[in-house]
């Protein structure tokens, strides 16, 4: 109000100075045609300005000589309009998120103007999120904010990605950031939220930004805010999107039937020659005889000649008169182009004393593998009321119900379609065939083609995954999750005394996953026991209650904001399941239909945290900024005397551009230097699986459920760790924010040094003591890096603009401390070793020395030991991988740098934007490829590269001799499978068109935008088939591949 009157008096003043004035009226609206209230309209080159009213209209008196108006509004762009002879001008402002000035940043327990902020953050607004047609917000933030790395998290419908902020900050505790939804730490499912409800995502990175969430902020904080009703904009909006999903990463090229038989023959022959001393001639004869037998061969003969005549024993070539009887790739039978539909209806608005928003969403996404998909229904209601001048209250309720039908997508299980189809030899069909004609066998009961289950009574005991057929079993089995995820947030805010305000917030999240796993009674794994069904309920409830008292005071040029508060957090997880076998009829997986209980279990876990916190923000003239915070947290995870941790931060900022000596530098709009330091804690201790939480590590426990027949039995749960304390994260951050050339170029450059110490480790103890590790706070890890983000409006015209945003992160990760006496910790499973000076993900593998040209053996290096078993520094070659030594060879799985580039064009009503993300450096262990480069495992598919195998003395190649069942040649855990992990992904292309308002206004429609986009358009990697973004540690798994989505959609508002 004060500002407005100031402006009015300015106008008045101006009017007196320049007698020759004229009056311009008009309206400011957004690109949907909605009025923008409070926008500034300024006469170019003067101090004359006006502000729009609630209906977006303005009136401004300007000197005659002024040729143009400059119109701007927080969160929107800036438009310059030449006036000419017009007296009425309507201005359309586009929403932007890059305007550095006056941007509001979401911080713990409140908001702060970006210019006054001393911390490090990155904000992504709804406009940017809206471009990506993904189901989980975790999949949309990659490449948009520097300092974060995201896995692709698998492509299963409804899956989320893992996110790391500024590197891996822990070893045995979680490195996941804290997610906060509308001010309440969020334990619900992120993929349950409707992307269309999210107004902004703010990534808080340094101590100054996150310290108020000290206890859980060690790995950074991601604040999500949801949309609210906006004053003066009562709207009804509809968004509808139709998408088509296909595989985003191609499958490895694999051998077809002919080459498969020929190379298998070679593998059998070589096993007899090199393994058992046969001559080549007799081995060739044996190999031809064995090739299609069950006991020592492939069991199936896909050709129309007798199995022992399939391959010529002398040449190893396929019989030229043999005709292929069937060729049925399993991926064709199991994969598909899937569809995705997403519709959101929003109704929102605001009056003088209240605002409201109602949103309803529906999502249907099928997986690219048949029998997988998700249906999700969302509803959200947000209401805020200001009944009088000192009280404000509001509530947000949202619920989502999703039904996911899935399948096992991970691990080397034959029930995992990715593993199954990749590794199934090409000669094994989906359907049964007549062995001499190749004709389909018809199932007399159904009249349909009979499926081949790979069992002796059908076509034979298939050596790869006998007694299975995923086309058959996935159709009959059920693997589903019915998830309810509900959030309720409510607050009461009161202004008390003069400068105080008190706010109490209560939030509750309820998550319930009702899971069914049913193995059918007719075929496959559970046929003999007439089916098996498991029903499982996983219920998580969390409560957060906080009370915050804030004091805002200005003394002259000194501005103070001080807050103090208290928070209680309670998390309850209840799990129960039961399994029954023996179904009388196929079809229903409900337990009542089954006879025998095979398993039953239930338990509850509790976690509690209590916190006290305070925060001070001070600035002098908005030029010198100072912030500090202190927080004390207690957690139930640690022993009573160790459970309280103290966390703090200090931050300072200097807006150099506000200094008088820079005010005259016209090209410099904003220059801010900021520095912060602080310490936060981490208590999210994980079990050795690094997935599930460990709540009671300090206690010396025996676990139930190890019953001996009908007698209850308990076994030790592990070695207790009563000395555990909070992990600490000490972050130093220095950053420069700038905005240049009439705010056309904006950017931030930051350097950070993040020391994670008192790291909790599973310290190895000798397995002969009965356990292999226990937890101790012993290590320190440093993440250090540079982040750069730049945005430039290359063209900024009325009908055409073009903006490019680039961000770039370079990060190093190094262990700086290990426990006394421990010089190294070996993680044999993931081929890593930790040592001071090395990163958490440095490869420690056997060094592959290629293939011996004389013998075709795979060669590895081996240390020469002295009499005491110590290394002598010398090394020799060995052809027995069991004797090979491991080395730091191959660097790390962590990239050297990562980043993203967004380029956005607008021409009149067309918008085109492209997001490219990239990662350079690091190595990826492609275990999936390793699986199809075996030396001759019967039944398993072969990658095309196997054709380069060694065949005869003198051959120079990197692929060793084929030899079925060879021992000691396994290159598992060797550098042979390390590939350059660099990648570049055209992550999103969006083209949209806004239908001109004039064309639709008569229909009562205020805006229509149509768009098309492609997510994951194209991924470039060093090795076809590889998915280097799968996991931070660089270890592959046979998971759901990421998919490409091509979508078309429409936004409509009334």
């Amino acid at each position: 109000m004060r500002k407005l009157s100031l402006l009015c008096s300015l106008i008045l003043l101006c009017g007196q100075l320049w007698a020759q004035t004229r009056t311009i009226t008009g309206k400011v609206q957004d690109d949907q045609g909605n009025p923008i209230a409070g926008a500034t309209v300024q006469a170019k080159g003067t101090n004359t300005a006006s502000v729009t009213t609630t209906d977006g209209t303005y009136t401004i008196s300007i000197p005659q000589k002024v040729k143009a108006l400059i119109v701007s509004y927080v969160g929107y762009g800036r438009e310059e309009l030449s006036i000419g002879s017009q007296t009425s001008l309507t201005v359309v402002l586009k929403r932007t998120d890059q305007s550095l000035a006056e941007v509001i940043v979401q911080v713990p327990y409140g908001t702060v103007k970006k210019t006054a902020f001393t911390g490090s953050e990155g904000t992504i607004t709804a406009q940017t999120l809206d471009k990506q047609q993904v189901t989980s917000v975790t999949k949309a933030i990659e490449g948009l904010v520097p300092g974060i790395v995201v896995t692709n998290g698998g492509g299963a419908p409804g899956s989320s990605s893992n996110v790391l902020i500024r590197g891996v900050g822990s070893y045995q505790a979680s490195s996941d950031p804290l997610w906060v939804l509308d001010g309440i730490p969020y334990d619900g499912s992120i993929e349950a939220l409707n992307m269309d409800d999210i107004a902004s995502v703010t990534v808080l990175k340094d101590a100054a930004a996150t310290a108020l969430y000290g206890s859980r902020a060690a790995n950074g904080v991601i604040m999500m805010t949801t949309k609210k009703g906006i004053r003066g904009r009562n709207t009804v909006s509809v968004k509808a999107v139709q998408g088509y999903l296909s595989r985003g990463i191609p499958e490895y090229d694999r051998l077809g039937s002919q080459q498969y038989y020929e190379l298998m023959w070679e593998g059998i022959r070589n096993a007899l020659v090199y393994g058992q001393g046969y001559t080549f001639q007799s081995a060739g004869i044996q190999a031809s005889q064995r090739l299609t037998t069950s006991a020592n061969g492939l069991a199936y003969n896909a050709y129309n000649v007798p199995g022992d005549q399939l391959v010529d024993p002398a040449t190893g070539k396929l019989n030229s008169s043999a005709k292929l009887l069937w060729n049925e790739p399993w991926e064709k039978a199991l994969f598909r182009t899937a569809q995705r539909q997403n519709v959101t209806l929003g109704i929102s608005g605001a009056g003088d004393k209240n605002d409201y928003l109602l949103s309803l969403g529906y999502l249907h996404e099928d997986g690219i593998v048949r029998f997988s998909g998700i249906k999700r229904y969302n509803a959200r209601l947000s209401v805020n009321a200001t009944p009088n001048t000192w009280l404000k209250s509001g509530v947000t309720l949202d619920g989502s119900y999703s039904n996911q039908t899935g399948l096992l997508s991970g691990g080397g299980y034959t029930s995992n379609p990715f593993y199954y189809t990749r590794n199934m030899g090409p000669i094994y069909p989906v359907y049964q065939h007549n062995l001499s004609t190749g004709a389909y066998v018809i199932d007399s009961a159904t009249g349909q083609r009979a499926l081949d289950w790979g069992i002796p009574s059908q076509m034979g005991a298939r050596p790869y995954a006998p007694n299975s057929n995923l086309v058959g079993s996935l159709a009959l089995d059920e693997r589903s999750d019915n998830i309810f995820n509900g959030n309720g947030n409510t607050y009461l805010e009161a202004k008390i005394l003069k400068d105080f305000s008190f706010k109490t917030t209560f939030g509750i999240t309820y998550y319930d996953d009702y899971n069914t796993r049913y193995q059918n009674s007719q075929f496959g794994d559970a046929a003999n026991i007439a089916g098996r069904s498991t029903k499982k309920s996983d219920r998580r409830i969390s409560y957060t209650l906080n009370e915050v008292l804030t004091w805002n005071k200005t003394f002259g040029d000194h501005n103070f904001r001080v807050l103090g508060g208290h928070e209680n957090y309670k998390f309850i997880n209840t799990q129960e399941y039961a399994t029954r076998i023996g179904f009388a009829f196929p079809g229903s997986p409900e337990l009542d239909n089954a006879a025998t209980t095979e398993a039953a279990s239930s338990y509850t876990d509790n976690l509690r945290i209590e916190s006290w916190f305070s925060n001070l923000n001070y600035d002098y003239k908005g030029r010198y900024l100072l912030s500090g915070s202190y927080r004390r947290d207690g957690t139930s995870r640690f022993y009573p005397t160790h459970r309280w941790g103290n966390f703090y931060s200090v931050g300072a900022g200097w807006r150099i551009s506000e200094e008088d000596f820079l005010k005259s530098v016209r090209w410099l709009n904003e220059l801010k230097l900021r520095v912060s330091y602080g310490e936060q804690g981490n208590q999210s201790l994980l079990n050795p699986d690094l997935l599930t939480q460990k709540y009671y590590a300090y206690q010396n426990l025996y676990s139930a459920g190890n019953n001996n027949a009908s007698y209850p039995g308990y076994i030790p749960a592990g070695l207790p760790s009563p000395d555990l304390v909070w992990e600490g994260n000490k972050t130093f951050n220095v950053g420069v924010d700038f905005s240049l050339f009439d705010r056309r170029l904006q950017g931030t450059v930051e350097w950070f040094n993040r020391i994670s110490d008192d790291l909790i480790f599973g310290v190895k103890v000798p397995g002969s003591t009965g356990f292999t590790s226990f937890n101790q706070n012993i290590g320190a890890l440093r993440n250090r890096g540079i982040e750069v983000s730049l945005g430039y409006n290359i063209i900024l015209k009325k009908d055409f603009d073009w903006r490019v945003d680039v961000n770039f992160t370079h990060l190093t990760n190094t262990f700086t401390k290990l426990p006394p006496g421990v010089t190294e910790i070996v993680d044999g499973t993931n081929y890593k070793k930790i040592m001071v000076g090395h990163s958490i993900y440095d490869w420690w593998v056997k060094e592959y020395a290629g293939v011996d040209p004389a013998t075709g053996d795979a060669l590895f290096y081996k240390d020469v030991l002295d009499g005491n078993g110590k290394t002598t520094g010398q090394r020799v070659l060995t052809n027995n991988s069991n004797n090979a030594s491991s080395y730091y060879t191959g660097g790390s799985s962590l990239p050297k740098f990562t980043g993203g580039v967004t380029t956005a064009f607008r021409y009149k009503n067309f918008d085109l934007s492209v997001l490219v993300t990239f990662s350079k450096g690091g190595k990826y262990y492609d275990g999936n490829f390793q699986g199809i480069m075996h030396p001759g495992t019967f039944g398993s598919a072969w990658g095309k590269e196997i054709l380069n195998r060694w065949q005869k003395p003198g051959d120079i190649t990197n692929v060793p001799r084929l030899q079925n069942a060879i021992a000691g040649q396994d290159a598992s855990g060797s550098s042979r499978w390390l590939y350059d992990a660099s990648w570049l992904n055209i992550k999103n292309i969006t083209l949209s068109y806004r239908i001109p308002n004039s064309a639709i206004r008569k229909a009562g429609i205020s805006g229509i935008r149509v768009f098309g986009n492609v997510d994951n358009a194209k991924l470039f990697t060093s090795h076809k088939g590889m998915d280097p973004q799968f996991a931070f540690d660089g270890v592959a798994d046979a998971t759901y591949t990421p998919f490409r989505t091509v979508s078309f959609g429409l936004n409509l508002s009334l």
Binding site: T293, S294, N296, T389, W390, P466, N467, L497, F502, A527, N528, I529, A530, E547, G565, H566, N568, T596, T597, A600, D605, L607, R608, I609, E610, G634, P640, R643, Y696, Q699, L701, Y702, S703, A704, G705, N706, N707, N708, A709, Y711, G713, I715, P716, A717, K764, V765, P766, S768, G770, T772, V826, G828, T829, L865, G869, K870, N882, A967, G968, S972
Partner: protein, 495 residues
């Protein structure tokens, strides 16, 4: 407004302060775990730890590893048999135990592989036993109960050491001073060195003799619990392995003369060796349906009738060579598929000795020690110590039960011993003693080949002969142990 805030502020401030909770707010406890103090407060509690220990003998997986060849003691019995001469694997199937059959499994020391899982399996039992042995004296309860629990834990520790030393070293005799395996007398997280084979045997014999004392006069709850006869049966097996025949004879006869274990009748013999009610079982465990480990179970790998791994190509077969040495009329010949009667799913020579009582459920009990073995130990040990008449009696008592026309009367000296060893192979086929016998008899591996025996058209064993004390007999010390045990260096690795 002023008035309201005057009252509101103090109210809110006090709410803020009261928001701080009671101290107990941060005390949480797991719902499916109890503290060690609770477990060992009473003998009743300690009994649950003992039952947990017994459960480990048939539980699935080890640590985070869940291979379907990991199901406790019976998995190790099967390893011992597939490494022997008399068990043939029909075809490759799902590859479980094929590496053991080919003598490649135990020689890779990587995490999660055979040497690691076997090591961890037995040492996990040792640690559980050590917890009980150390804590039981302070528990409240009758002394007799404490003795009973302690005796059983001592037995379990000895049993594990016996298997460990036999997987990681050649037989006792002649190798007494070779590296053994780490021995622990109490729970610790500090690793011990390998010591010598002699140390290991000294320790386990002491445990068994203490167990024998503690369990004297105690009545056990059920067959899964160890009683004095169980201790004696294992003591006899250990003595035989050590070639201490006098002790072996003494202990084996204590078992056979205990009167507690009558021999089966023929119908019982054919009933599948699947129930703790089998009169010949000295120690075994009841496996009820919710504790059965389904595909990862002994019956999955042995019984070719249900859809377990044995039916998916890995049918376990007796060699023709041994089958032909079973007399016609011997009931033991009927538990193998007669040549010429086999089918694709149950080929000739496939074992049917061990099978589920009901193929539509995976519940089937596990046999650990039997009186039949005691008879055979007694016979062999007596024959080797010059007590041939008693040896004949022990042998004939058992074998006449299987084959009424049986007599060994005409045999003496080496012939008698060979006959006892032959009967031992026939009687104990599939019971997990093959590798122990190969080691102690120092004959190496000699697998018969040709039709019905090892090799094509059956699964290729690759290894058909192996000289005694070949390094391939030895499991490698897991890398995990060498990396973390300060009392060991790379030089402690087996060759």
């Amino acid at each position: 407004m002023k008035n309201i805030s005057k009252y509101l502020l103090p109210a809110l401030l006090s709410a803020l302060i009261l928001g701080g909770c009671k101290k107990s707010y941060l005390e949480t406890a797991p719902s499916n775990q109890v503290t060690t103090d609770v477990i060992f407060k009473t003998t009743e509690g300690a009994q649950t730890a003992l039952d947990g220990l017994y459960r480990l003998t048939y539980t699935f997986g080890i640590e985070t590893y869940g291979g379907h060849d990991l199901f406790g003691q019976k998995a190790h019995d099967l390893i011992m048999d597939v490494m022997g001469n008399d068990m043939v694997i029909n075809s490759r199937g799902y590859n479980w135990f094929n590496g053991d059959y080919r003598y490649t499994a135990g020689t890779d020391p990587s995490d999660g592989l055979r040497s690691y899982t076997t090591w961890m399996y037995y040492y996990q039992i040792v640690n559980n036993a050590n917890n009980i042995i150390t804590a039981i004296d302070k528990a409240s309860g009758a002394q007799s109960e404490k003795d009973k629990i302690k005796g059983q834990a001592l037995f379990m520790r000895a049993h594990s050491y016996f298997y460990l030393v036999n997987f990681w070293q050649h037989t006792y005799k002649g190798n007494e001073s070779k590296p053994g395996i780490p021995v622990y007398s109490e729970p610790t997280s500090k690793g011990n060195g390998r010591g010598t084979v002699q140390n290991v045997y000294d320790s386990l014999i002491l445990d068994l003799s203490n167990a024998e004392t503690l369990l004297t006069g105690k009545v056990r709850r059920d067959l899964s619990s160890v009683d004095i006869t169980t201790v004696q049966a294992l003591r006899a097996r250990v003595a035989l392995q050590m070639e201490d025949y006098a002790t072996a004879a003494t202990y084996a006869q204590k078992v056979t003369s205990s009167g507690k274990y009558p021999l089966m009748d023929n119908a019982e013999y054919q009933s599948g060796f699947n129930s703790v009610d089998n009169p010949e079982w000295i120690w075994g465990t009841k496996v009820i349906v919710d504790q059965a480990t389904v595909y990862a179970s002994w019956y999955s790998h042995m019984d070719a009738a249900p859809f377990g791994y044995a039916s998916l190509g890995q049918q376990k077969k007796i060699t023709k060579a041994l089958y032909d040495q079973i007399q016609n009329g011997d009931i033991r010949k009927t538990v193998f598929t007669k040549p010429g009667t086999g089918t694709t799913s149950i080929p000739d020579y496939t074992q049917t000795k061990f099978h589920l009582a009901d193929p539509s459920s995976w519940a089937g009990d596990y046999m650990y020690l039997t009186v039949a073995e005691a008879y055979l130990i007694a016979a062999e040990a007596l024959a080797r110590t010059g007590h041939e008449p008693e040896a004949h009696t022990a042998l004939e008592t058992l074998i006449k039960n299987r084959y009424p026309a049986y007599t060994s009367a005409a045999l003496s000296g080496a012939n008698l011993i060979n006959e006892i060893l032959l009967q031992r192979r026939i009687e104990l086929w599939g019971e997990g003693l093959a590798l122990l016998d190969i080691k102690r008899l120092k004959q190496g591996v000699n697998r018969p080949t040709g039709a019905g025996n090892h090799g094509a058209p059956n699964y290729d064993a690759i290894v058909y002969t192996l000289p005694d004390q070949d390094p391939k007999f030895l499991f490698r010390v897991p890398s995990e142990e060498l990396n973390s045990n300060k009392s060991m260096t790379a030089a402690d690795q087996n060759p």
